[in-house]
Symmetry: C2
Subunit: 247 residues, 2 copies
């Protein structure tokens, strides 16, 4: 039996891109501690748990994510620690936590990770676990358990910044061959606003590492668009001298 650290936890903010609904969602699970009516989202929390005493933080994040959602081989990125002493505000939440972990908990600092996955490729809702997993739209995610709404806002800010400044992460969400409309729509969903098509394509061309493969879409009702791929060699070459990008 592993000894849990009563002061330290890990939480995973799993962002999912829903290309059908054109929306950005998060994976949460539902506990039953508050009377459902009127409690808003207070029963919903991110997959997370206390860290085992002799466990590395990153390993802990992968273990917890796998145990709670079945997800594996997902790129998780640590983005912030949250340590307000009153993160656990309600007696019910403290009671739930102590019962859930079977130990007396202290003031808990949580180390938060985020990941970005394609909902159509990973569907953890199918997994049989005692808590009910759900994808919810980020627009309906206010008033989550503990300080999880605050954690979400920092995660979202980080994700948007990473998408802009480390744009290669966007390619985690695309198939090997994609159209420029797919790519633009991914940015629009995550950034939450429409982009100018002409300007977007100019940036793509200037970046130089999103290259046409000389094939077109097949099996589409509309006029088939040109397919593109990510050129890793060009990307690495262009991004060696980061100093050339600033300001």
């Amino acid at each position: 039996m592993h000894k849990l650290n009563p002061s330290l936890s890990v939480d995973c903010v799993i962002f999912g891109l829903d290309t059908n609904e054109q929306s950005l969602k998060i994976l949460v699970y539902e506990r039953e501690i508050f009377p459902i009516e009127g409690s808003g989202n207070k029963n919903l929390k991110f997959p997370g748990s206390l860290v085992i005493e002799d466990e590395d933080l990153d390993e802990s994040a992968y273990r917890i994510l796998n145990e709670l959602t079945g997800l594996k081989n997902v790129y998780l990125k640590q983005f912030s620690a949250f340590g307000k002493p009153d993160r656990i505000k309600f007696d019910e939440e403290r009671e739930w936590s102590e019962k859930h972990y079977g130990i007396k908990i202290n003031r808990v600092v949580t180390i938060a990770y985020y990941a970005l996955i394609r909902i159509d490729k990973h569907n953890p809702e199918q997994k049989q676990i005692k808590d009910k997993l759900r994808w919810i739209n980020i627009d309906n995610a206010s008033n989550l358990a503990f300080d999880h709404s605050h954690i979400l806002s920092v995660a979202l800010e980080t994700l948007r910044r990473d998408l802009i400044f480390q744009s290669a992460i966007s390619l985690e969400l695309l198939p090997k061959k994609f159209t420029l409309n797919h790519l633009q729509s991914l940015y629009e969903i995550i950034l939450g606003n429409k982009l100018d098509k002409r300007n977007f394509r100019k940036k793509i061309a200037k970046a130089g590492y999103i290259v046409p493969i000389g094939e077109k879409q097949t099996g589409v009702a509309h006029k088939p668009a040109m397919l593109y791929r990510f050129d890793k060699r060009k990307f690495n070459k262009n991004n060696e001298g980061i100093a050339t990008f600033f300001i």
Copy 2:
């Protein structure tokens, strides 16, 4: 008497720009636990301490920095948590820690913050404290105490990225009026490589928020250069739509 949390600490990586020597330094303090000879930098560590049980992490960072260095009103930014279970590798380090804090410590996760200051404006070396504070060049900072060399490498990576993508932080290091040579030299020192002057000035002009004030340097031996200032209004205006900057 405040109760310390035996599992949680805060460490502050204070970067200082030495404009005379044109070098980037860090502020460390020296403990005496290893025989000096042959121990490399193992006696040098960042200002840091265990967190008080009911203390907010950010408040803790400011308190600890002030207690250990006398520094105040410095912008500190949390950048990462470090939690390898074997962060404290040597028995001597564990013994030092337990003696230093007067409590039995567990496996300690540290939340790291960084700050960027002008050495000529802040000189904590003058402060009378029991540990000896020193500025050391980042090039001579291998083999620090605990995992502090690793923490430094992540801090440096973060600082360089922030300088490129959130370039306004560079202005923390400049007087109100500065020359473009000053600004370029700041980038060169921190990024660790020479920049092309013409290209650098083109970027400044394009960014639009570094504006000439219509005055020249005075009291210099060489041909006086034009002075510039940071235009906050233009900066805010240009950076409202971050979506326009990506790729």
